[in-house]
């Protein structure tokens, strides 16, 4: 085979990592300080998974007018609302924050759902030309500058399965006439019930005739969001703990402390990245952090494995030289694996769709940070703790 193989790293590097460890430590400390300060100053952009509230993804026919949508949704009095393009110019994500109340009689869980309903209704209304006039009892007229597709509306009406509900063409040939039954719920009837049914049907028809479609709706109530925060934190701390345990079991305690410090370094820098980039922090972010922890640990273990091997091989070699040797020997592997992982992640960022973009970005950052920390932090840290060579050699 006549291929000239790409040698990324010269066959035998002998870079002096230990000598420059103070620079690396200094650099990392500065980065950590920036991360912590940004976290406390800026906070992170918590998604609804952890804060409660709703995400509504809609699709418009033409490029969406974000300003218009923003002003419509903000007019609903739902508190802070975020409106942004999501993946394509005609796809929009609307995020409203958790709706709160001090009234103990009102269920906060339900408030979130009502808010989502309001957003949908307002957008359907804004993106359709139809107007309704309701006589307050059994008849409503639906008119529009264009001819409305009677069949589409009638299908929706039929799907609601309410007896006596009908949609017909009006005499003018353009409008539609909606006929409601007299609502008798058990024995009650009256204008309020008529109004309720009318609103239900109106919502359905608006949805049918509007030029926006709802793509995705997620509503997270306060109970669930609280639990998700707890289980997310538990998962990350649990991962750190079990990895520490595993490394301790496989190596010596100095290794496990070194590895966990390196992991904490990676997690902190990743959180700093969330604070600075304002990427939404959601459930997928927790998954990304856990994977970064796994990945960085993986890299660290490879270097540590080699350090241990060299310790057994060269009993007289000084620790700094030994660590340098181990890092140099694994450098090619560390960089090649990082590159293949990035080769998989970069397409995910660009082609994987908007929903996975934040995840891909976090992972790309994590791979870079994890690779750096295994080489420049985890291995040199062993110098600080002083590994007991007797124990390793006698194992």
């Amino acid at each position: 085979m006549a291929l000239s193989f790409v040698r990324l790293i010269p066959e035998d590097t002998s870079l002096n990592f230990i000598k420059y460890r103070k620079i690396a430590f200094g650099f990392s400390s500065a980065a950590l300080i920036v991360a912590v300060i940004s976290f406390f100053m800026l906070g992170i952009n918590l998604g609804i998974d952890f804060k409660g509230g709703g995400n509504i993804e809609i699709k418009t026919e033409q490029a969406a007018d974000l300003k218009k949508i923003g002003s419509i949704v903000r007019g609903l009095g739902l508190g802070e609302v975020e409106v942004r393009e999501f993946g394509a110019p005609n796809e929009v994500l609307i995020r409203f924050e958790r709706q709160e109340t001090t009234d103990p009689e009102v269920s906060e869980e339900r408030l979130q759902q009502e808010a989502a309903h309001k957003v949908h209704e307002a957008l359907y209304e804004a993106y359709s030309d139809i107007s309704f006039s309701f006589d307050g009892d059994r008849t409503a007229t639906i008119s529009s500058p264009d001819k409305l597709d009677l069949e589409a509306g009638a299908a929706v009406i039929a799907d609601m399965g309410i007896e006596g509900l009908a949609l017909n063409a009006a005499e003018d040939g353009k409008s539609l006439v909606l006929t409601l039954p007299t609502v008798v719920i058990d024995r009650k009837s009256g204008p309020e019930l008529q109004e309720q049914l009318y609103n239900q049907v109106r919502y359905k028809l608006l949805e049918t005739y509007s030029r926006v479609t709802s793509q995705r709706t997620e509503i997270v109530g306060p109970k669930v969001s609280g639990e998700l925060v707890r289980s997310g934190v538990t998962a990350v701390l649990g991962a750190l703990f079990f990895m520490m345990l595993y490394i301790w079991f496989r190596f010596e305690w100095q290794f496990s402390v070194g590895a966990v410090i390196a992991l904490a370094h990676d997690v902190t820098l990743t959180i700093g990245m969330f604070a600075l980039t304002r990427i939404e922090f959601n459930l997928a972010s927790i998954a990304a952090i856990l994977t970064i922890v796994g990945y960085s640990m993986n890299d660290t273990v490879v270097v540590y494995d080699r350090i241990r091997e060299k310790m057994r091989m060269y009993k007289k070699m000084a620790m700094p030289d030994l660590i340098d040797l181990a890092i140099n020997k694994t450098l090619a592997r560390t960089s090649i694996t990082s590159i293949t992982t990035l080769l998989a992640l970069v397409p995910l960022y660009f082609f994987g769709g908007e929903a996975l973009r934040g995840f891909a970005a976090t992972m790309i950052w994590g791979v870079l940070v994890g690779t750096y920390s295994s080489i420049f932090i985890a291995a040199p840290l062993l110098m600080l703790f002083g590994v007991n060579r007797e124990l390793i050699e006698n194992e």
């Binding site: 538990t234 991962a239 998954a287 082609f351 769709g353």
Partner: protein, 543 residues
């Protein structure tokens, strides 16, 4: 390391072929899979399952409900309080008591004559009887802890923690059943209804992107209870606030009728109903006919026999539908509810009664719905990212490792097949984050190969022969590969344990990917390498 016994070789190829077979159904076009003629020709022993797509990929609704177990407890305590009152007055001499109170998990009251304590406790015994079925299972804990103070005449009945948790658990289990019944009546396909934890219920309905309809039918409690009407005071007195102990005011469903004063004690409830149908009464008005099971029939029979001439009220979710006079004992266990319904209303009520009442209110905590179009879009985007990433990694591996890169790529291809096969075979759910997990696995799977190849390079550098360099390379990389993958597995396991919803799907693919990667990179590619070495017998290795 490079020698494989025949048995071992067969074993390895068996796993590869098995993975392929399990993955294969996913590639059959829908028309072929749906075609009975063709499907019939495929032998039955071959796997036919395809990957189970999560709701975020196929579209549908996910709803998380919480059962209000508090209301179950309150209802139980209210009934107990009423039963206690009845029991104390059931025979002569009557044991008068007052100051009935419900506080937390306790019903308490005071005997008017403390010297009747012993008699009172004897009378109350039936309250603490264990239902016959539980004795057999050996769960002989009594539902109440009874404490009494002879000096003051105070008696308190505290529901035990065990009884309370059993009560909640029963309520949740029954709610699951009721929801299942109601959703089945809706005619949706393949709904999933699961109990989660102590008080939660997950409902997943694929293909239904509008959860409003589902919520509307699920959240109705449809608690039907039968109560005696209290006539000890006039309704006006009751409205003025003089409500006799053990009675309560309820609204009637007809706004024209005044409120009704009923005894709190439930004579019979909807849980004993076995059927309900929309029918017509004698004058041709829509009505709902119902029938009880034997327990309900006996209770209803007794209650009506004891109270001929009095009125009883049928309450639906605490509103009176109708309150007829009992003209004669109703012993057959069936009856008719005549509430001045329209046909539709009667029909709806029959459906709700038939599906069963929810023992407690439900609250929606979390809801996610995805339209089918978006799911398709996500699959398409994910597939493109996967293919681009896959090709990029393969090209890079060949550039870096030449012939060995090709081996790694073959292993990677088998790896992907195995992941797909495992997902189909285990019927694990593939979610959008799950796709990300597969893509990530592609990038990380070659790590094991990289570790091995770098080792081989080192061994060649120190002058070993090709055979021995490869042999040593694999051997030395083994423990590192294991260590490195176990750490990633720890992360994946924690995701599986603590992750929720789609993110759990990421943990699934990540975990599956770890196992398949170790197999393909360490075992399968080693086998391929040994085939090549044996056949080509290279003098030098270009690596």
């Amino acid at each position: 390391m490079l020698h494989f016994s025949r048995l071992k070789q067969i074993g390895i190829w068996f796993i590869v072929v098995l993975g392929l077979l399990f993955a294969l159904p996913n590639f059959l076009p829908v028309t072929v899979r749906g075609d009975e003629d063709i499907a019939g020709k495929i032998p039955g022993f071959l796997p036919s399952k395809i990957v189970n797509l999560g709701l975020d990929l196929q579209g549908g609704s996910y709803l998380l409900f919480e059962v209000d177990t508090d209301s179950v407890r309150t209802a139980k305590l209210e009934t107990t309080q009423e039963e206690a009152r009845q029991l104390l007055r059931s025979e002569r001499p009557i044991v008068p008591a007052r100051n009935f109170r419900i506080n937390g998990n306790t019903v308490s009251f005071k005997l008017s004559r403390p010297e009747q304590m012993e008699l009172a406790l004897e009378r109350l015994k039936p309250l603490n009887e264990i239902p016959a079925g539980q004795l057999i299972t050996g769960n002989a804990d009594k539902p109440f802890k009874v404490s009494s103070d002879a000096a003051t005449g105070r008696i308190s009945l505290t529901i035990t923690d065990q009884a309370l948790s059993k009560l909640s658990k029963d309520a949740v289990v029954r709610s699951v059943e009721v929801i299942r019944n109601r959703i089945t009546e809706l005619g949706t396909k393949d709904p999933t209804i699961l109990r989660q934890g102590n008080s939660r219920i997950i409902v997943e309905v694929p293909g239904e992107s509008d959860p409003v309809r589902i919520k509307r039918i699920i959240e109705k409690t449809a608690q039907m209870t039968f109560h005696l009407v209290d006539t000890s005071v006039s309704i006006n007195e009751a409205l003025a606030g003089r409500i006799p102990p053990g009675a309560k005011l309820v609204k009637t469903t007809n706004p024209a009728e005044p409120d009704l004063l009923v005894r709190r004690r439930v004579l019979v409830d909807g849980s004993d109903l076995i059927d309900a149908q929309q029918s017509f009464n004698q004058s041709g008005q829509p009505a709902v006919s119902f029938s009880f099971n034997s327990r309900g029939s006996i209770r209803f029979g007794n209650a009506t026999a004891e109270n001929v001439g009095r009125r009883f009220a049928i309450l639906l979710d605490n509103e009176s539908i109708t309150a007829p006079v009992i003209r004669s004992p109703i012993l057959g266990g069936s009856g008719i509810i005549d509430g001045g319904f329209t046909v539709t209303a009667a029909n709806d009520l029959a459906v709700l009664l038939r599906a069963g009442a929810l023992p407690a209110k439900l609250e929606t905590l979390n809801e996610r719905s995805v339209g089918a179009g978006l799911g398709q879009e996500s699959i398409r985007a994910g597939s493109i990212a996967l293919i681009v990433g896959f090709v990029a990694v393969m090209i890079y591996m060949v550039l870096v490792y030449g012939r060995f890169g090709l081996i790694a790529n073959m292993a990677l291809l088998v790896n992907l097949t195995l992941i797909l096969g495992a997902l189909s075979g285990l019927q694990a759910t593939l979610t959008l984050p799950g796709i990300a997990g597969v893509i990530l696995t592609i990038g990380m799977a070659v790590d094991a190969n990289v570790l091995i190849f770098e080792r081989i390079r080192e061994e060649i550098a120190i002058g070993r022969s090709p055979m021995s360099a490869v042999e040593t390379g694999f051997a030395k990389a083994r423990s590192t590969i294991l260590d490195a993958n176990i750490t990633t597995l720890i992360a994946a396991m924690l995701l599986l344990l603590f992750g929720s919803g789609p993110v759990q799907g990421f943990g699934v693919t990540l975990a599956i990917g770890i196992f398949t990667s170790v197999f393909t990179a360490f075992v399968f590619s080693r086998l391929l390498t040994s085939y090549w070495l044996v056949r080509a017998k290279p003098k030098t290795l270009s690596l």
